[in-house]
């Protein structure tokens, strides 16, 4: 691989992406444009996350890539193989071992190290939280500048008045550091409270939309909710994983003729839990 630079993209591109990242970290929740490069995968297949990972990765890093909590899905495997091939870094499925975790639509179940040294890179399809209520990008910018999120609140009001609660299942809007409202990428509501005051640096990359944003470690992340209403996450009470027996985690639901089956969404957590229960 001596014909390419370390980590595939050229140094000028990395510099530009790193500058956008610095700006994003300095303004938590603010959307920073960047010149999204051509990648060997099509846009919309994780190129935003990929470019962030390739710009920040060092030889000593340890990489984990998941897709919906799974280390073994085709997307995760391909991205992990590509990054290790162009960098030569060590790969892992172990959350606590990884220094960079690139993820699509989930946050790993295991708690992160408190030393702020881990980085979580999200792949984002729709970075702008206001697109659902305001299609005009100039107006969106103005609304962010004025912290004018009344239209998002109206969606919440309408769902509450007509269905009793918000109908949003993923991409739930979150208020970052009491200033910008941000799209957390299509993670389930279950993961939203786990973003709050997290010790990891959370970076978000949207390759197709050419946008980057970030949440620095230990930043407040609050879901939009009315003062007199609770924020409800997915309920899995009484359910345990059929494979490892774990409870109180986020489950994948598999529907069969024999009924609904539940398995841990995070495969690494499932493996570890199985190992522990076999040992005891």
């Amino acid at each position: 691989m001596n014909s390419t630079t370390f980590a595939f993209i050229d140094e000028d591109a990395k510099k530009e992406i790193r500058r956008s990242l610095l700006k994003a970290v300095a303004l938590p929740g603010y959307i920073v444009p960047f010149a999204s490069r051509e990648m060997p995968v099509a846009r919309g297949w994780g190129t935003g996350g990929l470019q962030i990972t390739l710009s920040i990765i060092l030889e000593r890093d340890v990489l984990k890539v998941i897709d919906q909590g799974c280390d073994a899905s085709v997307n995760a495997v391909n991205i992990r193989d590509f990054i290790t091939e162009v960098t030569g870094v060590k790969e892992t499925v172990n959350t606590s071992e990884a220094s960079i975790i690139q993820t699509r639509h989930r946050i790993p179940e295991h708690e992160f190290a408190k030393d702020e040294k881990q980085i979580l890179v999200f792949q984002v399809p729709t970075p702008e939280v206001l697109t659902t209520v305001e299609p005009d990008t100039a107006k969106q910018k103005q609304m962010h500048a004025n912290s004018d999120y009344a239209k998002l609140w109206v969606l919440l009001y309408e769902d509450t008045s007509q269905y009793g609660d918000s109908r949003i299942s993923n991409r739930y809007p979150v208020l970052i550091n009491d200033h910008y409202v941000m799209d957390p990428s299509p993670i389930p509501k279950y993961d939203i409270p786990r973003m709050d005051n997290s010790p990891v640096l959370q970076l978000f990359g949207a390759g197709r939309e050419k946008r980057i944003y970030a949440i620095p470690p230990y930043t407040s992340v609050k879901p939009l909710k009315f003062d007199d209403r609770e924020f409800k996450v997915e309920s899995f009470s009484g359910i345990s994983c059929e494979r490892c027996g774990a409870q109180n985690v986020f489950f994948d639901e598999v529907r069969r003729e024999t009924g609904n089956h539940y398995f841990c969404s995070d495969t690494e957590y499932c493996d570890q839990h199985l190992e522990k229960s076999n040992a005891s």
Partner: protein, 278 residues
């Protein structure tokens, strides 16, 4: 003083610098002969007191709607000053809202002032329900308690003589007159101090017009807010307003008590207007 407008002007086009002096009523034109810029508003000064109802009349193209949009900050003025309700800057000087921070302007537009447009499509968001539209302003004014927002919206639906069961219907399912009433409910739901109305009843049939004007007047007396109402219909002006200003070519040509202006118009244009309509 609730609202004070000083020497407000709006010029469309690259001004040559002497546009304001070369246009206006005394020149009989609103287009600058030097540079062909359109002077929509030419050095207008006016004031509105608390609970006062001000009417603006004039022929089409005289700048009535532009003046309202300048006050509501829908468009940016070329020069002049607007002061609102004793608002001051950080040095305690009266704050010219044309120079205010976006957050201040946003607060003024979301809470302190409301605009009712002739076309409900401008004032209502048709993607939100009637209740949602009203909620948007209540939320914009800072309320984050669902029950209070819902009760507020229901209260206003009731106030505009509409069945409260229709609160979750969408604007397209209402008639034109009903849409206009929802617009009024939305505008008043943030308890604004100043209500701006741009031809609120034009295009509605006469019986509906009367109902809406009565509703506006009732609510004004009940809640207490100031209004500036633009209309080319002197009947509306006569019915609602205390004070009337007459505009032509972007300037004020007459200013006075509504009765006085309708009974004893001084300016030739006002005389023409009164004689041709009443």
């Amino acid at each position: 003083m609730l609202l004070e407008v000083q020497d407000l002007s709006k010029i469309y086009g690259n001004s040559c610098g002497s546009c304001l002096a070369l246009t206006g009523e005394e020149h009989g034109r609103a287009i600058c002969p030097e540079c062909a810029s359109v002077v929509a508003i030419n050095s207008i000064s006016l004031t509105a007191r608390k609970n006062e109802i001000l009417g603006i009349v004039g022929e089409s193209g005289s700048g009535k709607s532009t003046l309202l949009q300048l006050i509501y900050q829908d468009i940016t003025a070329s020069c002049g000053k607007i002061f609102f309700n004793g608002l001051t800057d950080d040095r305690n000087q009266p704050l010219n809202i044309l120079k205010a921070m976006p957050a201040t302007v946003s607060h003024l537009r979301n809470k302190e002032m409301s605009m009712i447009y002739q076309n409900p499509h401008l004032g209502l968001n048709f993607l939100f329900s009637a209740g949602g539209n009203i909620a948007q302003r209540i939320i914009g004014a800072g309320e984050r308690n669902y029950e209070k927002i819902r009760k507020g919206a229901l209260g206003f639906i009731d106030r505009i003589d509409m069945e409260t069961s229709r609160i979750d219907d969408y604007p397209e399912n209402f008639s034109g007159g009903q849409q206009q009433r929802i617009q009024i409910a939305k505008a008043l739901s943030s308890s604004p101090k100043l209500l701006l109305l741009d031809e609120p009843t034009t295009g509605l049939d006469v019986s509906v017009q009367a109902k809406i004007l009565d509703l506006i007047k009732e609510l004004q007396q009940e809640i207490g807010f100031s209004m500036i109402i633009v209309s080319h219909d002197l009947g509306v002006i006569n019915h609602l307003t205390d004070i009337t200003v007459v505009m032509k070519h972007g300037t004020l040509v007459e200013y006075g008590l509504t009765d006085q202006i309708l009974e004893d118009p001084q300016h030739p244009y006002t005389q023409l207007l009164v004689s041709s309509i009443l």
